[in-house]
Each structure stands twice: as C-alpha cells, then as structure tokens.
Symmetry: C2
Subunit: 172 residues, 2 copies
DNA sequence: TAAATATGTCAATATGGCTGACATAAAACC
DNA sequence: GGTTTTATGTCAGCCATATTGACATATTTA
C-alpha cells in the first residue's frame, strides 16, 4: 500500500476524475431542482408537472407522444399529471388540424406565468454559473453534456443563431 | 414579427442559450440514470438505494448524518432505504469508535460488487463523453457544474492530484 | 376493409419522498 | 452531576410519481 505513488497510478486518477464528474452531476441536479420543487409544492404539484409545463411552453403544440418521447415515462403517468394541469387551467388541449386524433398541448396565460416563474429561477442559477465560468467553459459544458445524451436528442441543440428550439418533427 | 432580426435581439439569444443549458442537464440526467435504474430494478431497488450505495462506497465510514446532508432527504426516507440495504447484506453498520452514537456505514463485498456494476456503467458514459469532448471541454464542464452547486459542497471537488475524495469533515 | 396510430382510461402496485411525534443512547456543557 | 444537545431510529399516515397490462375509441393509412 505504502509504495503506490498516486502519480504513478493514472488509472486511479482517471477513476477519481470520472467519479467527480458523476457527483458534480448529482449535486448540480439536486440544487437545480430544489427551489422549483418548493414553488411547485405550493400548487400541490411535483417535478413531473414542472417537466410537462416546461416542455409544453418550450414546444407549443406538442402532442402527448412528443412528451412521452422526451420524458420517457408511461402514458398513464403522463396522463395523470397532464389531466391535472388541464383541469386546473394551466394547459389546453386542441385537436390536431391535420390529424384529429392528436391533442395539441399549449399553455394558458396562467400556465405561462407559472412556467416563467419556475424557469426564471433555474435560468438565473445557470446564468450565474455561466457568467462565473466564462464563455469557453460554457462551450465545454455544452459539449460534454451533448456527448452524454442519446444521439437522437442531440439535434435539438444545434446552434442556429436563431432563437427558438428546432421544431418537433411531426410526420404527416 | 417579421421585422425582428434575431441577431438584433441578444436577450432572446441569451434566454435560448440558458434554456438549452437547462435542457441539456435534463436530458443528460435522464440518460445518465436510465441504465442503472434498470439494473437496480432487478434487485427490487430504486434510485434512492443507488445513491446510498454510491456514497457509502465513495466515503466509507459515512454516518447517517453525512448521507442526509448529501442527499437532502429526510431521516425517515433514508432510514427505509438504508434499512433494506443493511437487512439484505449490502451495507454494514458499526458503532463509531469515538462517538458510539454514530453508526458508521460501509459496503459489504456484495455491496461493493453492486456498486461497481452500477457505477461502471455511468463511468463509461462519462468517459466516452469526456473523450469525445476533449480535456479543455471537460474543464469547462467541471467549472460550470461547480458554479451551480451550493458553495458548501464545492470543497469536495478540489483538485489535489491525489486519488480519493476529500474526507468528510467529522468534528470531535 | 383491415391495420396501424394517437390517445384515454381502469385497476393494481411499488418506490420514494414527506410530516410529526416520540424514544434511546451518548456526548457535551456548565 | 445534572441538563442539554446530538445521532440515530421508529411509528403511523400521507402523497407524488412511477410501473404494467388490459381494454376502448377515434382516426388515419395501407
């Protein structure tokens, strides 16, 4: 034991580096969600409601299928949460114009207001971290996270120089 | 609408950039936890068990209080999960030598084996992303995430050049 | 017309979080 | 030595969020 010099042990350093990455993600996510969770609790909502509100706000006119693909939860889990949001007037459902089976989802003004309050908090957290870390670090942050997510979701993050996300591909 | 040039609208670009950051975090965390969640399900465990196994493996001899501070859950929530892990032989509890009220937590060989299987998967995911993004990007990734986490937890991530986490401060 | 798709819904189940109250043992303090 | 604080555990009850599997309906596509 005593004769193992750490600097002579690149594998240990490597594992340490990777574990730090794992933990950074854990802590960041923990702190990233803490305040919104507290806000949501005032409405009797949880993190699942937040995700639905966020992504419907982000991609107006999303369908249930779109959300299922993003959130990776079951139809039933989404249904309960979405049903609540619709009943309580945060989200509207309108039949799809081309495919009338679809229910296009949108935020009501009330929904937009809540979305804004929630994401404002998170944007401020990220904005501060970005500002302190600098533009180059932000590039690295993006690059590493992009490499961690499933290939099929990466297209959402192309840099177009134009505001707004890449619209959801809707065949038909 | 038509006369707003995106490039003349730095605030929109700024918000878009921040939202992309939020979403990158969401997708990365989603994909980071997907496979371990599936493994854990085979044992009848969930993500909470994973976190306990991970941090006990990472900081052997942790106390219940240490875990509570890291995980930010209640004693009762931890107790249920920890109790299961102890009963099923993944974690041991031994009285603290200096403070006998404490129960120092450690992984059994069985616990270490599970920890290894779980974190191996996540380390591989991060390793690939690190490799593809390059050392400079990794620095940026660390820097931004560090800026997002609570100040008091940042000390855990000092670069000592020596393998192993900064030991848990244990007063007394 | 038949098959596939988008969505909804029901029942049952499990995990993981919460609060609040209470208990014990040990350490720390005066 | 006596009091207070700390570390931990436990009980009962509650709620949010996820699961599976089965089934139903409307609509589109082949």
């Amino acid at each position: 034991m005593a004769d193992i010099k750490p600097s002579a042990n690149p594998l240990f350093l490597r594992e340490e580096e990777l574990r730090q990455g794992m933990e950074l993600l854990f802590y960041a996510y923990r702190d990233f969600t803490a305040e919104p969770d507290a806000m949501l609790a005032q409405y009797g909502f949880g993190r699942a409601h937040h995700r639905v509100i966020y992504f419907v706000g982000r991609y107006p006119g999303s369908t249930v299928s779109d959300l299922l693909a993003i959130l990776r939860i079951t139809k039933q889990s989404l249904s309960r949460v979405l049903g609540q949001l619709v009943r309580e007037g945060f989200v509207t459902q309108t039949p799809g114009p081309r495919d009338r089976r679809q229910r296009l989802l949108n935020l009501t003004p009330k929904g937009e207001e809540l979305e804004r309050r929630l994401s404002e908090n998170q944007r401020a957290l990220i904005a501060r971290a970005y500002r302190e870390a600098g533009a180059e670090a932000v590039e690295g942050f993006r690059k590493v996270l992009l490499g961690m997510i499933e290939e099929r979701d990466r297209a959402k993050f192309e840099r177009t120089g134009y505001p707004g996300p890449v619209p959801i591909r809707r065949p038909g």
